[in-house]
Point group: C2
Chain length 389, copies 2
């Protein structure tokens, strides 16, 4: 399954000495074709971006979108670590490059863990090189890689899309509520479709926008968020639209798995705003509802308090007229024209008791529409995040 | 104490039938001078503003800034209640107007409680009128009024400023974390200074900006937030700067009391951002840190994880260069130049264990500076907000 179920890729996962006690803390995904893979990536917009983000960006620019391998480590974010952190990240890439007989710039890097904790990454470089030598293409290799990138995720997150003439494989670590770290979201995707780096980047950005960028767990944008995509080309050219759809499917699957596995979360809600004056305004409004602590608390308690939803919509900063607003839980309208609507309370209660719920808000003003995936706020989040020690 | 310790004002607080079992749910503050008071108010920016906000705004506009009384009720926000809600709000103002021998438009109204729950406010109008008849100027009257406006606040919030030649009295109910309600923040201020409504409004807005508007509990802007100020004029004219300072002092006192009493909160932090390229950017950055769930969780656990602080600054959308950033807990620098700074961990731990903590971030870019007051996120918030039933 996952990244190695795609022609032209091998992977390994194991312990290199970042976490304690032999815990898996490093994965490598390598392209096994003679030429390096086409590569594209989407990085965090955080201006406090971590060293691995700086390095991976520079490498992609230097190669014009070619990569031999992606290295992912967990346990230390290598963020706010200054010049030493950048040197450590480069040392890791050099070790992988040497092990894979490629240039260090053909290695991409993603790291996750605590921020502001210096670490001797050069010291673990030999172990990283040794791990690269064990890379293989079996399910066990793919599973080991998917497990090694986790922090406090409960379960690995993988995806395999088998499409006509090509495949897309993927693995990820979860979004937010992952104590004691920030909401780092890392994903590696592979495909055997042949596609130049320019188009690959375009398709990846289009796939990330409606999926990973429409998730709201705690609203924090990590210093390390990274989504990497490598294309081996072994399956030959693919209609770009088909590849784009497959990538979006993979990202959507991983995004859903991340929200479902957010720590402390017991319920996932799809918040949809329609009837906005634009899709952009709908997205802003949906994000305001999905990001509200009060709404998240209501979701945790399965409490049908739509007043909080209306209040968040009114404060979202978008075009809004209370008397045009309709709110639904599942198929049940609870607010119509901005006022309480007579409804089947038992139907609402039954819907809210589910693991997956739907919250739909129609602003009644236009054709704009957007959905955001969020989770509830439960005591588990507090337990995980009150202390890093 | 509070609103009645100012010449020209009487108050009453008691039960009018909104909450159950005789609980206090209504307060009135009335001006006892022959002419009505000068009046000004600041209202929520929420576009889903409640009926009392709509009505109070209209009354202030109709009178040009004159008011005989302010009525405050708790237990039902009268928000998202349509035309019936507005009629109910007007009925309450008419009852107070009749009891005080004034026009209904000379009555301002603020309400707090559940959103989207229709209530027969006209039905409680007789009880409201009866309550008005009991208004008086003793401490007991002021205390009863301050208690009647609370929802789940643990303690009443009042302030009395005795200045040279004039006084400012005030009462408020708390900001956010007030289950099962939204973050409604209501305050009534009185002064015996003589001041026309135009200047009064200007001074009130200037007093609210650096105080109530610099509080972050859960980021929700209520449908009902209202700050009312009445001036009896009995102390004669006052230098505007002195009155402005006194109003700011009163608002700052109430804001601090609100954050300290936010439900579930165990710690209050003053987040200060300096070195920003403007005061506005400093405010945005301070708000991002103060509003971060991860930072709030760290505060609850007294955990000195400054990595989260740096990450929120980098994602705040302001000018930012990681290698210029300094972070302090109290007087101890923990991050300098965007990297870990050697420091006295025991001093940081001692500071973070306090009830009131200081978190200072210097962006190192300019002279912009702002502070935001916030609280931690503890299990009490979840307990209070998971269900309204």
């Amino acid at each position: 399954m996952s990244v190695v179920a795609v022609d032209g890729f091998a992977a390994a996962g194991g312990h290199v000495g970042i976490k304690g006690a032999g815990q898996p803390d490093c994965a490598v995904v390598a392209c096994t074709t003679p030429a390096p893979a086409s590569a594209a990536a989407v990085f965090t917009t955080n201006l406090a971006a971590a060293a691995p983000v700086t390095v991976a960006r520079a490498h992609l620019a230097a190669t014009g979108g070619r990569a031999r391998a992606v290295l992912v480590t967990s346990g230390n974010a290598n963020a706010a670590t200054g010049a030493g952190g950048v040197a450590g990240a480069e040392a890791l890439c050099a070790a992988v490059g040497a092990a894979c007989a490629s240039s260090p710039t053909e290695v991409l890097l993603a790291q996750t863990g605590l921020i502001g904790v210096p670490f001797d990454f050069a010291g673990v470089a030999p172990a990283v090189a040794a791990l690269c030598a064990t890379a293989g293409t079996t399910d066990a290799h793919g599973a080991a890689a998917a497990r090694a990138i986790l922090t406090t995720d409960a379960v690995p997150k993988t995806h395999l899309g088998v499409h006509e003439g090509f495949r897309v494989g993927a693995m990820a670590k979860g979004a937010a509520m992952l104590a004691p770290n920030l909401a780092t979201m890392l994903a590696v995707l592979t495909t055997d479709a042949a596609c130049g780096p320019g188009l690959l980047g375009e398709l990846l950005r289009d796939a990330v926008a409606p999926t990973f960028n429409r998730v709201h767990v705690d609203g924090s944008t990590s210093t390390n968020d990274t989504v990497c995509l490598l294309a081996s080309g072994l399956a030959g050219p693919v209609v770009p639209e088909r590849l784009g759809e497959a990538l979006t499917e993979a990202c959507a699957s991983l995004a859903r798995q991340m929200v479902d596995d957010a720590e402390g979360a017991t319920r996932t809600a799809t918040v949809t705003v329609s009837g906005a004056t634009s899709d952009h305004q709908a997205h802003i409004a949906a994000r305001a509802v999905a990001g509200s602590l009060l709404v998240k608390c209501s979701l945790h308690g399965a409490d049908p308090y739509w007043g909080r939803v209306v209040a968040e919509l009114g404060a979202a900063g978008v075009d809004f007229a209370l008397d045009r607003v309709t709110v639904r839980y599942g198929n049940t309208v609870v607010c119509s024209g901005g006022e309480p609507a007579p409804h089947d309370a038992a139907a609402v209660a039954a819907h809210l008791a589910r693991r997956q719920v739907e919250l739909d808000c129609d602003l009644g003003l236009g054709g704009g529409r957007a959905s955001v995936l969020c989770c509830d706020l439960g005591p588990g989040y507090l337990d995980e995040n009150r202390s890093t020690s």
